[in-house]
Symmetry: C2
Subunit: 197 residues, 2 copies
């Protein structure tokens, strides 16, 4: 089930991602060197290719892992509130605040040599978006029993895309955006709940 080999495999992947993430945060996507990731982990260059396919695969994997961690935190904020609207606002605010501080996000959007990396959240953003949607949706369906599943999904859908947009193209402070989004979606959720038996 969970053999030593399995654990070793996971650890290898994780250490490779650590090295890669560190490199990206330091020098952007262009500053990421496959050979450097291999060297830092104490492994051959070929092994990195075996694990991730190519350089873009490395970036995706780093992004996926960071997204998971990110969502753990956001879902935590969401869970602290009982009312869906409050949860929504809290989650949005937390997400935007975290994103603003996140070194990887900063490197992907700000760094000079990261034109490609920024596509992770824009033109090539399906992966991150789907992952986020998956986690949020599951969490919301579980914590909002009074909201019909389909409507909850719609709500997550809209909010998620707005939040990502604000990450890519920052606007007002997190709290303001969160309040605005909560007010806009509030009627929808209220009606949804009212019609729900």
């Amino acid at each position: 089930m969970d053999s030593f080999a399995d654990r070793t495999k996971r650890r290898l992947r994780d250490e490779l991602l650590d090295a890669a993430q560190d490199a990206i945060e330091t020098g952007g996507y262009d500053g990421l060197r496959m050979a450097e990731v291999a060297r830092r982990t104490g492994v051959s260059r070929q092994t990195v290719y075996n694990e991730f396919g190519d350089k873009w695969g490395v970036l995706e994997a780093v992004a996926a892992r960071e997204t998971e961690r990110f969502l753990l935190d956001v879902n935590g904020a969401l869970a602290e509130q009982t009312d869906p609207i409050d949860g929504l606002r809290a989650a949005v605010e937390r997400a935007l605040t975290l994103a603003g501080e996140n070194p990887l996000v900063k490197a992907a959007l700000g760094q000079p040599g990261s034109d490609q990396a920024s596509q992770l959240l824009t033109t090539r953003g399906q992966q991150v978006l789907e992952l986020a949607h998956l986690r949020l949706d599951a969490h919301v369906r579980e914590h909002w029993p009074e909201v019909p599943a389909e409507d909850a999904t719609s709500c997550v859908d809209v909010a998620l895309r707005v939040v990502i947009s604000h990450i890519v193209t920052p606007g007002p402070p997190p709290a303001v955006v969160a309040a605005q989004l909560a007010r806009v979606l509030s009627p929808f959720l209220a009606e949804s709940r009212r019609l729900h038996v």
Copy 2:
């Protein structure tokens, strides 16, 4: 130098030793099952044999690792004192106290199915003894510059064997034994220092 493979190898050995030590502390040497160690670590039985040769090899390896840890602590106590005699007494007391609390020692000496394991500290005690001697001697030569190396070695030699004897066959409380031993060896060290230019 420190490749991922190296770290993995060390980790494997360490996890095997964890499993083995746990088994020994629970059921004594007889209760230690090679197949169980393998299963718990998530590895094939053969791998355990590759690593340690045979069951006795496992026991020796467990003992060696525990001895190293043990001596780190004892050497720490020894280093806290500036005067050799004080250091000697502190180290002896610490060693006897630790041994009295140590689950592995208790299992090796007390457990019903551990007649063989007890030999680690008696008839087959060379390994542990040499290891302990090595560590203590190096530490003492470094911290007792005013004592001739040869005399320091003799002192360690005697004290070590007395301590092990007291572990195997407990007598008075640690503090008493420590004081006694310090008093007995004190004149030797004093004279040694006096003759030393």
